[in-house]
Structures are given as C-alpha cells and as structure tokens.
Subunit: 114 residues, 2 copies
C-alpha cells in the first residue's frame, strides 16, 4: 500500500444517477436526483471537502439499478445508496464523505438491479 | 475481506467524462468522448463482460481533470486514463476491464487536473 496507485486522485468519488427515461419508466430523475446532486455538491463545497485528494461529487448517466431509484455510488469503496430526501444526503456527506462511516440504513440491498 | 462489502456490485465500473463546455474551453466532448464511450460499451457487451459482478460502462459529467481530456476512470481501482483513439479503448477493454491489467501507457499522470 505504499505506491502512488494506493492514493486515488479523489479520496471519495460519489456519482449520482441523473438519468431521465423518456418513455416514463421508473428512473432517478423522477425522484429528485438533480436536486440531491446539487445539494450534495453544495454541502461538500461548504464543508471544504471538495478537490484532489478529497471528495468529488459527480453527475452520472444511468447506473442500471433503477429499481432502487434514486441511487448514488461512492468509490473506491463501491458503496451504493438509495435516498429519500435532502436530510439523507446530509447524512451521507457528514458520515461517509467526511468521516468514512457507511450509512447502513441507506445502503442499497445487493439484489436491487434494474 | 470475506464480508459482502468486499464484492462490489460491478467488478469494474468505468466512467467516461462526456462533458461539453458551452464556452468553448477544452473539454472531453471536443475530443471524441461520446464515440469512445459508445465504442467501449459495445465492446464490453460483445465480449460478454457487461452486468452485475462484471463490468459497467457509464456516462459521467465533468470529472474535473480537463487538462488531460479526454479522460475516463475505472473503479474500484481508481485508475485514470487518457486516450487518443478507439484502439486505445480496445486496449483498455481487453487488458484492464477483461483481465485487470492496467494499461500503463495510457494512465493519466497524477498532476493533471483541471
């Protein structure tokens, strides 16, 4: 764990699915994903967590786990979340992105797919 | 390393920055990112690599390493690539996404940022 590869460019990189399905199928964009993304990005910036070696909050296309929408994934841990409201986002920021503690109650069950 | 958390939903998750900057600044979308994304997605599907426990090829918004555009990142490893053409994408698919071998010649230097 001593080579440069062990230090990722972003310590934690969270991707929000912002996919919009034009055919009306269940998707993240119908469930406040854009607002959650913006809120997360603002909170991370306000907390001074943003940047190289720290946190990046990213838009993503369909993550293909639509049945759990809205979803987000945190790498390099590969922890997937589903959230309901902005208080959930605050908790993910404070616990996971800031302190590395997984928010168990929001973790997306492994069997949830498209 | 024996708990379920150790097995990520996708074994490898590659995100292509497809960001388009409207002001004409240097960005991935100007450098064939969309075509590279589509090509990668097609190759992964054709190779039977796509799906849960395997590989996911994803669109992403700005990854904020624009000076290295076009860029993509593979998680959970956190390996960043810059690429020139579709042959580079083929090599990333074959070596990294299929066999877990980093394509050193395409790795984005750590100091490349926005």
């Amino acid at each position: 764990m001593n080579d440069s590869r062990s230090a990722p460019y972003y310590g934690r990189h969270i991707f929000f699915c912002l996919n919009q399905r034009d055919n009306g199928d269940y998707c993240c964009a119908q469930h406040g994903a854009q607002e959650a993304f913006q809120h997360c990005k603002g909170r991370v910036k306000d907390e001074g967590l943003a940047g190289k070696g720290k946190v990046r909050v990213n838009k993503a296309g369909c993550l293909n786990r639509c049945a759990g929408a809205p979803v987000a994934v945190v790498y390099p841990e590969g922890v997937w979340y589903t959230y309901v409201d902005l208080a959930d986002i605050d908790e993910i920021v404070e616990a996971h992105l800031k302190h590395g503690q997984i928010v168990e109650r929001l973790v997306l069950p492994d069997e949830v797919g498209r």
